[in-house]
């Protein structure tokens, strides 16, 4: 196991370096300058400003400088937010995104699992169809539509919840529901399918034949085994949610990371593009490693160290 993790960490580092390099060179292909009054700048001014930010150096030199700073932990300063540290900017934005992401994940997973299990147990019943309709709607209705409708009815018409801003628990309810809708739908469908598959396995028949109560069969054998694949989709889901959902953040005015990421690309804010991309990559790589390790622990059939399976 130790050797396995060691090897994985080395390959993670390599992956990270490749992502950093690729992002850097791709980013340099973006047209235009990072200066937001570019339409009013003269050629000379652009040259002078590029000088100031070191953007006139050949790209390989810029790359070398960037990587050198990166390896010493320096992500540089934002062009758009005049001189603020990239790490500070990510730091102040990640809080709301992570909070909202985790809250939606927990809520969405619990409801999703519940719906999925019910649907499988009452296979081909009204409950099953009802649940699947909810799941399909959850996946196919964009969450900004759900968000907009909620904001209008709960916020403006009935004035039950605050319309927007980020100022306490009440402010998290609508965004959480909007984001959780897709989690509920994804998990419910997945859980239902897995449950149905497990229910048809021989060991379930055996357990029933041994005289176990159906509740015990469901809890001890079915749900447990059906849950394993859920972990697979949880990994990417966690990262996706933690790093923020741009549209929901915009609608509910949440100072999260999603908006920063997209705007940095639109405005050619190179250090922020690099900073956020690398941050997301690290998160992703680490979560995938954790998921793989979890498999080995939960399902002994999977031998991470490789060899004799």
């Amino acid at each position: 196991m130790g050797r396995y993790i060691g090897g994985r960490i080395i390959s993670m580092l390599i992956t990270f370096l490749i992502i950093a390099s690729l992002t850097f060179f791709l980013m340099k292909l973006l047209p235009g300058t990072p200066f937001n009054n570019q339409d009013k700048l003269t050629e000379t001014q652009i040259v002078q400003l590029n000088d100031k930010y070191g953007l006139n150096d050949p790209v390989p030199v810029q790359y070398f400088n960037y990587m050198k700073n990166l390896l010493s932990g320096d992500l540089g300063v934002s062009f758009q937010q005049d001189g603020r540290e990239v790490s500070t900017i990510i730091g102040e934005r990640i809080g709301p995104s992570a909070y909202l992401g985790l809250q939606s994940l927990v809520v969405g997973t619990i409801i999703g699992l519940f719906l999925g299990i019910i649907a499988a147990l009452k296979h081909n019943s009204f409950l099953d169809y009802g649940t699947m309709v909810i799941a399909v709607l959850g996946i196919s209705i964009p969450n900004f539509v759900i968000a907009g409708l909620m904001q209008y009815w709960f916020g403006v018409k009935w004035q039950l919840l605050p319309v927007a801003y980020w100022d306490g628990f009440a402010y998290t309810i609508m965004p959480t529901v909007a984001i959780a809708s897709i989690v509920v739908a994804t998990i419910a469908r997945f859980m239902r399918t897995e449950m149905l598959e497990v229910l048809g396995q021989d060991y379930i028949t055996t357990a029933k034949a041994k005289g176990l109560s159906s509740t015990a069969v469901v809890i001890r054998h079915t749900i447990r085994n059906a849950s394993i694949p859920i972990i697979t989709i949880m990994g990417p889901l966690v990262v996706g949610l933690m790093t923020g959902t741009l549209v929901i953040e915009q609608i509910f005015v949440i100072p999260g990371l999603g908006e920063k990421f997209v705007n940095s690309i639109l405005t050619n804010d190179f250090p922020i593009i690099m900073g956020t991309t690398l941050f997301f990559s690290i998160l992703f790589i680490v979560v995938i490693l954790l998921v793989d390790i979890l498999y080995g622990i939960i399902d002994p059939r999977i031998r991470l160290a490789g060899g004799k399976s």
Binding site: P31, V163, P236, Q250, I251, V253
Partner: protein
């Protein structure tokens, strides 16, 4: 067996999430389109609640380039002058109008800074603070994107210092501005411009607290507590990405005029959210996009404001077809501007057959610049004349069909406007085919700059309160010409007006120049002058909106309930 299936699922999810995040990137279009959304709030207390559509990129007066920053700076800083209710410069840090002295064709203005001009830590605002900030703006190592403002204001050597290759390049101490003593600032102007004092209200001309700024180093003006304020308000809070809060500045020299105790500002990018916040009373002023106008048109709190920002099409005159004046005239006349402003924009924008905006600047006689041609050029001609010109143009070209590429940006409104133009041109002018080329903003600028278009959409807002801020664009070598337009007559009028010191003559020259551009040459197709639709609560009084520089002033606002 099982493992390989999981790997497959895992990779699928990975691919899917990459794909989804890529899509997410595409869904944001606007970018920083300027501070259209404002709002305010308040109760019986003097509190105003507003929203902005973008965060503040910079509070360093030498570095900012955008509306949001300039607006915020106008509330917390002050130059020698500030803009008043009528967009006239009124005394700020300057105690009195300056003494003027003519010397060898140069004018020396001597300003005295108010005794009670203080930074928010109680220290005096001194003449050296101005010099410090100005030198910083011009120094090649810290150069300001607005460094050219010093030359625009006519300040001695302002242009030379930022011109590479000039013997004075980078020699900031050669700037015609000196601190004679703590409270005396001397500005030498080599080229007098009538808008000199108005320009001094612009952020680039604000002072910075020298000692404090040096002490803060790189942290200066990055956070609410790493800067000092000399304006009507101070930043009580600045949460990047979320918003900021102003509080009245007790050290401000004119604090007794300031009514508001507090102004909160949140960054809200989604117009629907802004409207919902306004409707629930969380904010006191809201900017509306076209799709919300019908809903609120009859509301008492609804109003429209006209901006001095012009939208027009550049016609690339290096193309054979567009070098033909009849073809240009046909395009100019075929385009129905009323349909554009009333249906598509629907926000108070004005259909324009002119280039220098209405309600922007007044001439020496006190009349608006536009008075000489209030309805613009070819105002009474339309579709019929367009068709005639088109036929004549085709004949001269010896063809019966023309294909033109229409370059535009990829934001939602620009795309709609492009479709509208295509429809207008193609239905009215037989044999014309328009291909729309939609590009992201930065790419658009590159293409336009390199002349890689036939027709392109452009917008222009003033940098200083004078028609010249529009007219100089189309000089033959103008940096912003970009369409190969060249007229000796136009160049002569524009460069003549730049040197002319007699105001009445200068005014006439600029009006003649516009006439050449629009009537004689039909070099561009102007489309509309920008309007803004806003909602504002009745109890917000004295919300002054400006036509250049900072969008608005909160200094005089009062809440009356």
């Amino acid at each position: 067996m099982k493992k390989s299936r999981w790997t497959l699922v895992l990779s699928l999810v990975l691919v899917l999430s990459v794909f989804l995040s890529a899509c997410g990137g595409g869904s944001n279009n606007g970018g920083n389109s300027g501070g259209e959304g404002d709002g305010e709030g308040g109760s019986a207390e003097q509190v105003l609640n507003l929203v902005e559509t973008a965060e503040i990129p910079s509070m360093d007066t030498t570095q900012a380039t955008d509306n949001t920053s300039f607006k915020a700076m106008n509330q917390v800083f002050e130059g020698l002058y500030r803009l008043d209710e009528n967009n006239e410069p009124t005394l700020g840090m300057a105690a009195d109008e300056p003494e003027e002295e003519e010397k060898d064709g140069e004018t020396v203005y001597t300003f005295t800074i108010r005794d009670d001009a203080k930074w928010s830590d109680g220290s005096d605002v001194v003449a050296g603070d101005f010099i410090y900030a100005w030198h910083k703006a011009l120094n090649p190592d810290t150069i300001s994107p607005y460094a050219s403002m010093f030359g625009t204001a006519g300040i001695k050597n302002g242009n030379a210092i930022i011109t590479e290759g000039d013997p004075l390049y980078g020699k900031v101490e050669e700037l015609g501005a000196k601190a004679v003593d703590e409270k005396t600032l001397e500005i030498t102007v080599e080229n007098q411009v009538p808008y000199f004092k108005s320009l001094l209200t612009f952020a680039t001309f604000y002072p910075q607290p020298e000692g404090y700024a040096e002490e803060q180093g790189d942290n200066f003006a990055l956070e609410a507590d790493t800067m000092l304020y000399n304006g009507p308000f101070v930043f009580a809070e600045w949460n990047h990405g979320e918003g900021w809060t102003y509080e009245k500045n007790p050290e401000y020299w004119d604090a007794e005029t300031v009514n508001l105790e507090k102004v909160t500002t949140k960054v809200v990018q989604d117009t629907a959210t802004t409207v919902n916040l306004y409707e629930t009373g969380k904010i006191d002023r809201a900017g509306l996009s076209a799709d919300f106008v019908d809903q609120f048109k009859d509301n008492e709190e609804f109003s429209t404001l006209v901006d001095p920002t012009m939208y027009f099409m550049r016609l690339n005159q290096e193309r054979e077809e567009l070098a033909n004046k009849d073809i240009r005239k046909a395009l100019y006349l075929a385009y129905d501007r009323e349909g554009l402003v009333n249906v598509l924009l629907n926000n108070g924008s004005i259909a324009a057959k002119y280039f220098v905006p209405k309600d922007f600047v007044k001439g020496p006689d006190g009349d608006d610049f536009r008075e000489f041609a209030p309805d613009g050029f070819y105002a009474d001609q339309g579709e019929e004349e367009a068709k005639e010109a088109w036929e004549a143009g085709l004949e001269a070209l010896g063809t019966d069909s023309v294909e033109l590429e229409f370059l535009t940006t990829d934001n939602e409104l620009a795309a709609k406007i492009a479709e509208y133009a295509k429809d207008q041109f193609e239905t009215k002018l037989d044999g014309l085919t328009i291909t729309i080329n939609k590009q992201p903003w930065k790419q658009f600028l590159e293409l336009e700059d390199s002349g890689d278009f036939d027709i392109s959409t452009g917008g222009w807002g003033p940098d200083y309160p004078d028609p010249m801020t529009f007219l100089y664009m189309f000089e033959t070598d103008g940096e912003y010409n970009r369409m190969g337009y060249s007229s000796e007559k136009y160049d002569e009028l524009v460069s003549g007006a730049k040197k002319e010191t007699d105001e009445a003559k200068r005014w006439k020259m600029m009006q003649d120049a516009e006439k050449v551009l629009m009537e004689e040459d039909i070099a561009i197709v102007p489309t509309y002058q920008k309007g803004n639709a806003i909602l504002k609560k009745d109890y917000v009084k004295n919300f002054y909106v400006h036509s250049f520089g900072a969008d608005s002033s909160y200094k005089w606002i009062k809440i009356e309930k």
